[in-house]
Amino acid sequence: MNIQIKNLYKSFGANRVLDYINLEIRSGEMFFLLGPSGCGKTTLLRSIAGFVDPDAGEILFDGKSVAKVPAYDRNTALVFQNYAVWPHLNVFENVAYGLRVRKVANDELQRRVHTALKQVGMESYAERKPATLSGGQLQRTSLARAIVVEPDVLLFDEPLSNLDAKLRLEIRAEIKRLHGELKRTSIYVTHDQHEALTMADRVAVMHSGHVQQIGTPREIYEQPANSFVASFIGEINLFNANSPLAPLLKTNANSEKFGFRPEKVELSGHGIPAKVIDNAFLGASSELLLETANGEKIKCHCNSPVANGEQVHFTVRTEHILHFEQ
């Protein structure tokens, strides 16, 4: 199903959480809403689910406005951050709930619940009560509960943020695989850029109620629309146009700011001289902080051991320098 967001506006008091948002989510894609906390991404997701009434604007499901459709009739399925698995029902009943609401006949219900549980690797836990499950198992249950009703849209509200690092990777792969199999329109809210970069078909980066940029992960990483997107997705060395570095790097655009990613900095025998002032060993490589004679600080990556205080030279290719208006 295709979803259009038109001029959506919502404020809580003086706080404009959604400031005239326009978006289109294509049928079958995995669409990400990415942004820091308080940027409005969860409010947008909850508006789509029908839990938040927007003050102005429209949400269209396949071209039809859902303004008058109550949350229980929208046929979306939300996967919650805190799982929201009902503690008084066992895993099977949790997953079967949506089907019972839809008055699905018993044999079909049995079959579909078991298929869904199998899809998330929970078939042996059907009779267990939620209190006996781990966080990962709870989120798998929640996932099964969402996919079993074959919703028009799957909504994910930071589903991995309550899990530990290892489980996060596991469930992330699971969701990606399921999306590949089911090809259901999915909207996924997160503040974790890695999730967005690895899983998304397209990403909308949000900040203080505005959409900053929409694009594929590669587009938003390599051609960030502004300095916010550039610094929120990955790391960047950011400078004002009047920085003494500008002539040295031969940037000639008339933009307000320019910058470059740490991994684009090349350490070589020639180029701009700088001193290593900090040095963090990351395992596969080291992250260095360089300081030029003018006092500009630059982050870069380096594979060979370098000591603090050592003099180095660096260059950045012109095509790797990004220019921003703000």
């Binding site: 839990f51 009739d73 939300l78 951050q81 009902w86 609401v101």
Partner: protein
């Protein structure tokens, strides 16, 4: 439905809270259409009423001090030390709070009269001369009332002080210890100041309860207290003195309540909480046993009055001896044979079930609105639904009686002189409403909103979500709250004594009161038997409620 519910709730509070309190105030302040304070001058001009006021104040002050003396060390002991059977004792300490002192008063008298158990025991050990025995219940039972009130009310203080202490981040004490402070200094400079708000709010509640209690002075026949006089004046609707006394009580209560709120406002508990666990000192074997024994002794002393009631209910002969000399079950048979008693049990059951159902509906609706909906007047609803907790039973019962017994009112069907059933049910319900609101509120708060949203999201309509998700998740709380409202209604004193004015409609407590006033020699024993039956019922329902609520039970009684 969604629109009707708030309207129904608002109507309930307007008709049964705002209107009676309004007419009470009008009756006390408005003379011939003009505002006047004349009735209040009359109260203080009259030496008898001044004495009543002094008596009630003294009873309240001494009861509160005594309760403080008991509960402060107790709370400290429970917070800091480990000793055998601590958890069991902790729940047993609720017992005195729950046992109605009204019934206990009968038992206390038997032990402490001139030729009662205490003096007879003391005589045996040569401490007392029976020719001229000391009168423990001198001045018409003044001291007896204080002792009963303190023994009844100290658990309230214990609960609030214990909670205030337990909620303090142990790291605060550790920080003091780390900087070199020791036991008493830490207590004086950190623990006590931070626990003071809890102590203050508990203290005001105890003071107000002791000041306004009607049952105990009545059972002791102590006439010169404010509650006794108010009780006497209910049936004289034209006597403005009743209004003045009730409004004075109301003013005093409001003043204390505001004071308690102000002093208790600096609630530091839980502001920040480190991960550190409270360290309790493991007492040595002997001190630990002594602690257990001391708490047990305290509980035993607290229930002495009720033991007296039990003894009297089975004693065929108890005269000039420490304990009864002949035993009999005849009084229980009489309870079941006498019209007055069987009818009162039936009445009480009926009233209590009705008021419990009303409370359940109202409490559930209010708690739902407070936790799940946004609307104007939410803060007001919150305050109003907790108000009956602060309002002494005496005040509201009096207001009900005088308001609804007025001639020609459109609410004439509620006239207690015609048929007190409606009004009794509503009075019971109004009084216990806060308990069930709290229980349901706590339930809704524990149930994350996203559990309900998940159901809505999967296509369930609001009613289905409510029945399939919300209700099952808070069922334990609701049942516990209902049991409490039921059992408290069974043993309600002020409303029962004031509103039930003819024999046919007497509930249990009023029947006990009227039996005590009869001259037939066995009447007190039958009253005791009836009291014991009521206690058993209460014990059973509280046991069930605590099974359901677990550790959270104490929270329902907190201020």
């Amino acid at each position: 439905m969604k629109k009707l519910l708030p309207l129904f709730i608002a109507l309930f509070f307007i008709v049964f809270l705002a209107y009676p309190l309004g007419s009470l105030l009008a009756g006390a302040f408005v003379i011939k259409g003009e505002f006047s304070l004349r009735y209040f001058y009359l109260v203080f001009d009259n030496p008898f009423y001044s004495r009543c006021f002094a008596n009630s104040t003294l009873i309240a002050v001494w009861s509160t001090l005594l309760a403080l003396a008991i509960s402060l060390p107790l709370a400290w002991l429970f917070n800091r030390c480990e000793f055998p059977a601590k958890t069991l004792l902790n729940s047993l300490l609720l017992l005195p709070l729950i046992l109605p002192p009204f019934v206990g008063a009968i038992g206390l008298r038997q032990f402490f009269t001139r030729y009662g158990t205490l003096n007879l025991l003391l005589e045996k050990s040569g401490l007392v001369d029976l020719a001229n025995p000391p009168d423990w219940l001198a001045s018409g039972g003044f001291y007896g009332i204080i002792v009963l009130q303190a023994l009844h009310l100290y658990p309230i203080l214990f609960l609030s002080v214990q909670a205030a202490m337990a909620n303090l981040d142990p790291a605060l004490r550790e920080a003091a210890a780390n900087l070199g402070a020791r036991g008493w200094r830490i207590f004086r400079t950190v623990t006590l100041p931070l626990a003071l708000p809890g102590i203050f709010s508990g203290t005001t509640i105890v003071f107000i309860a002791a000041f306004t209690d009607l049952g105990v002075p009545l059972m002791f026949g102590f006439q010169s207290t404010v509650p006794s006089q108010i009780f006497n004046m209910v049936v004289q609707p034209d006597n403005p003195m009743g209004y003045a006394l009730v409004v004075l009580t109301l003013l005093l209560v409001s003043l204390l309540f505001l004071l308690g709120k102000k002093l208790g406002s600096g609630n530091y508990a839980m502001t920040m909480r480190s991960g550190s666990q409270a360290l309790t000192a493991k007492l040595g074997k002997l001190p630990a046993l002594m602690a257990t024994a001391a708490v047990l002794l305290l509980i035993a002393i607290s229930v002495i009055p009720h033991i007296g009631v039990v003894l009297q209910s089975v004693s065929a002969r108890w005269f000039m001896t420490a304990l009864p000399t002949e035993w009999s079950g005849q009084f229980y048979r009489e309870v079941f044979n006498l019209d007055a008693t069987t009818l009162s049990v039936k009445n009480s059951l009926f009233y209590s079930i009705c008021s419990m159902s009303l409370d359940l509906v109202l409490g559930l609706a209010i708690a739902y609105l407070l936790t799940r909906e946004k609307f104007r007047g939410k803060a007001l609803l919150d305050t109003v639904s907790m108000l009956p907790l602060a309002l002494p039973g005496l005040v509201l019962a009096f207001a009900y009686y005088v308001t609804f017994s007025r001639h020609g009112s459109w609410l004439a069907f509620l006239d207690p002189r015609e048929n007190p059933v409606f009004l009794l049910v509503i009075a019971y319900a109004m009084h216990r409403l806060p308990y069930i609101v709290r229980a349901a509120y706590a339930g809704f708060q524990q149930v994350s909103v996203s559990l309900e949203e998940a159901s809505t999201n999967l296509g369930a309509r609001p009613l289905r979500t409510f029945c399939k998700i919300s209700l099952p998740l808070i069922a334990a709380n609701l049942v516990a709250g209902s049991i409490l409202t039921f059992s408290f209604a069974m043993l309600d004193v002020s409303n029962s004594l004031i509103l039930a004015q003819e024999d046919r409609s007497y509930p249990i407590t009023k029947a006990i009161y009227s039996l005590m006033g009869r001259i037939t020699p066995t009447a007190p024993n039958v009253a005791c038997a009836l009291g014991v039956l009521a206690l058993l019922l209460l014990a059973l329902s509280l046991y069930l409620a605590s099974k359901l609520m677990g550790q959270k039970m104490g929270q329902l009684f907190k201020s």
